[in-house]
Amino acid sequence: MAGILLEDIRKSFGATQVLKGVTVVMQPGEFLSLVGPSGCGKTTLLRIIAGLESADAGRVLVGGREVTGLRAADRDIAMVFQNYALYPHLTVAENLAMPLIMRRLTAPQRLPLLGRLMPGTRARRAEVAARVAEAAEALRIGHLLDRRPAQLSGGQRQRVALGRALVRQPRAFLMDEPLSNLDAELRASTRREIVELHRQAGVTTVYVTHDQVEAMTMSDRVAVMMGGKLLQLGTPREVYEHPCDLRVAAFLGSPRINTLPVLAGEGQVHLGPLALPVAAKAPPGARLTLGLRPEALCLGGPRGLPARVDHLEFLGAELLLHARLEAGQVSIIARLPVAEAAGLGIGASVTLAADWTAALLFDAEGRRIGAAAQHETLAHA
C-alpha cells in the first residue's frame, strides 16, 4: 500500500518524444486505469514506474520514497508485460513460483540440491507451491502447470503472465493490457478476480487497457493519455460524462460520440438551419462542436432530428443505428434497444430525439465549454 507519484516524466527514443511531461499523483491503494490510443506511451510510462526504463527527466516516488535511481528488483513492484515475457525454459508452475522463490527463499535455500537440505526450505517451498496452486486455480490454468509457454495458446500465456504478478504481494501492481487476449467470459471473470484481489489486498494498481468496460468498471480513477501527455484524470464517471477535451470524449465510449459542427447562438446553437436547445457559453457565431453520445439518442416523435437510416448493426443486446442527419448531412449513430428498431430498414426516414442535457460543447481547439440544455427536450428525458 504505497502511493505513487510521477513528477513531470519525460522520455524520448532518439528523436521521437514519447512522454512529454507526465505528472500523476496516486493515492495508496488506488486503482488507476491508464487509457489512450495505441502508441501514446502507456507501456513506456509503466516501464518507467517499474524501473525498467530510465526517464530522461522527472522523478518517481513510491510510498513517499524516491525510487528514481533504484533498480527494478529493488522497487518491489509487480508487472504484467504486454507481450507476456514468460520464461520459455520453465514450466507454468515454475514461472508462477519464480517471484516468490526469489523473494521468500534465501540465497542458500534456492540452491538446486543443497537448498533442499537447508532448514526451512521445505516449509517455504510448500508455501510457495500452495500459493501458486491457488493463483493457478483462480486463473483457471491449474491443468497447465506442467506445460511450457510454447505449448500454450495465446490466452493461456496471458493468464500465466497475470498469475506471475498476482502470486505475490508487492507495493504496487502494473498491468499492461493483461486481458487483451482473453475471451469475453474469461475476461469478465478475470476482471472480477482482479477487482476482488484489489479490494482485499488494496495494492496500488496501474492498469493499462484499451477496453472501455474494464477502465470504467474496475478503476477508482481513469487517466487518459494522448500523444505523450495526460489529458484528463478523474473518476470513470467524470471522464465519461464530463470530458475536458473533445479528444477525451471521442476516445471514451463505443460507439464513438457523435460530433456535430454547430454555431453558437443566443441561448441555443445552430446546426445548419436547425436550432438546438443548448446554451453555449461562447460569443454568438463561434464555431463549436457539439458532442452527443449515441445512447442520448432515441427514435423520437415529430420534434426529433430528421434523418435517413444508413445501416443497422446488431450487437446482441442492442442495435446501432447509423443515420445521416438531413441538417448538414452529418453522420450520426444512435444506440437503441433491439426491439425499438424492429421494422426499420436501410433508407428509412426517421426522426431522432436527443437528451440535450447530456450534450457536450467544445470550442475550436477542442476544449470543453459550458453548456446548459434549455429543458425544452425534444423527446423523453
Binding site: A50, I77, F81, Y84, A85, L86, P99, P149, R157, R164
Partner: protein, 280 residues
C-alpha cells in the same frame, strides 16, 4: 522450412543423396581409422580398397592399446580434466558474456576488444610464462596445472555474448521485476535460454581439451596424469615408424567417448526456442 507436412521419401531423396555423398567424404578418414584398427600391420597399407580385414586383428590391436599404456586411466583423467575445465569456463565466461551483451557500462567496448584479442592468441604463446608460474608454485603434474590455464575461454565469452544478444530484453526485465539479481538472471534465465549455444560450447570445449596435446605434454610428468590424446601419442614414433594398428585402436578408443558425448548433447540442440514465451 519446417512448417507443413512431412515430405515424402521421394521428395526427400535429393537431400539425402547430397548429404550422403558429403557424409562419405567426411567419414573417409574415420572409416579408414576404424578399418585399420581391425587389421594386422601387414594389411593396413595395401594396394586394395578393402575396408574389411582378411585376418581379424582387433583383439591384438585393442589389446595392445589397452595393455601398453593405462588407457582407461587416461580416459578417466580426460573426463576429470574436461569437466573441470568446462565448469570453470562457464563460471567465468557466462556472467562476463551477459555483461557484454545486455548491460550498458563504460569499459564494455574495451573489455570486448580484449576478448577479441584473446581469441587470437594461440595456446602456445602464454605457455612458457605459465609453465614457469606453475613450476614456481610447485603445481606441475597435477590436475590443477592441466585445468587452470583454460579456466578462461575467450571463445566461450564471445560465443555466449553473441547468443545472449539475441535474447529479448523483456525476458531479462521480467526477471528483474521478479526480484532477481543480475547473477540470478545469468544462471536462471539467460543461460537456460541459450541452451543450444551452451551445448555447442560445451561440445567444443570438451572436445578441444580431450584432444589437446600441447599443454599436457608440457605439464604432465607422471604417466598417471596423462590425458587420452597423450596416451595415443605413445603409439607413434617418428624415428622408428608407427605401430599403426595399435595407434588406430587407441585412437578409436579415445574418440569413441567424444562421439557418444555428442550424440547425447545433440538432443539438447533441439530444445529451447528462446522467443516462445513472448509475442511480437
Amino acid at each position: 522450412m519446417r512448417p507443413g507436412p512431412e515430405r515424402s521419401l521421394l521428395a526427400d531423396l535429393p537431400r539425402l543423396l547430397l548429404l550422403g555423398f558429403g557424409a562419405l567424404l567426411v567419414l573417409a578418414p574415420y572409416l579408414w581409422m576404424l578399418s585399420a584398427s581391425l587389421k594386422p600391420g601387414g594389411e593396413i597399407f595395401r594396394d586394395s580398397l578393402s575396408l574389411w580385414p582378411e585376418r581379424f586383428h582387433a583383439l591384438e590391436n585393442y589389446g595392445k592399446a589397452l595393455r601398453e599404456v593405462p588407457l582407461l586411466r587416461f580416459l578417466l583423467n580426460g573426463a576429470v580434466v574436461c569437466l573441470a575445465i568446462l565448469a570453470l569456463q562457464l563460471l567465468f565466461a557466462v556472467p562476463c558474456a551477459y555483461a557484454l551483451a545486455k548491460l550498458r557500462w563504460c569499459g564494455r567496448e574495451a573489455m570486448f576488444a580484449l576478448v577479441l584479442a584473446g581469441l587470437l592468441i594461440p595456446a602456445h604463446v602464454p605457455a612458457l610464462p605459465l609453465y614457469a608460474g606453475f613450476a614456481a608454485a610447485g603445481l606441475l603434474d597435477s590436475y590443477a596445472a592441466l585445468v587452470a590455464p583454460f579456466a578462461i575461454s575467450v571463445f566461450g565469452i564471445f560465443m555466449f555474448r553473441q547468443a545472449f544478444r539475441s535474447l529479448p530484453d523483456e525476458l531479462i526485465q521480467a526477471a528483474r521485476m521478479d526480484g532477481m539479481g543480475e547473477l540470478g538472471i545469468v544462471w536462471r534465465v539467460v543461460l537456460p535460454n541459450a541452451w543450444p549455444t551452451a551445448t555447442a560450447f560445451a561440445t567444443f570445449s570438451i572436445v578441444a581439451h580431450w584432444n589437446d596435446l600441447f599443454w599436457p605434454l608440457v605439464v604432465v610428468q607422471s604417466p598417471a596424469m596423462a590425458t587420452p590424446a597423450l596416451g595415443v601419442l605413445f603409439f607413434r614414433a617418428e624415428e622408428a615408424g608407427n605401430d599403426v594398428g595399435a595407434l588406430m585402436a587407441a585412437s578409436v578408443i579415445v574418440t569413441a567417448p567424444m562421439v557418444a558425448f555428442f550424440l547425447l548433447a545433440q538432443r539438447r540442440f533441439i530444445q529451447g526456442v528462446a522467443t516462445a514465451g513472448l509475442k511480437g
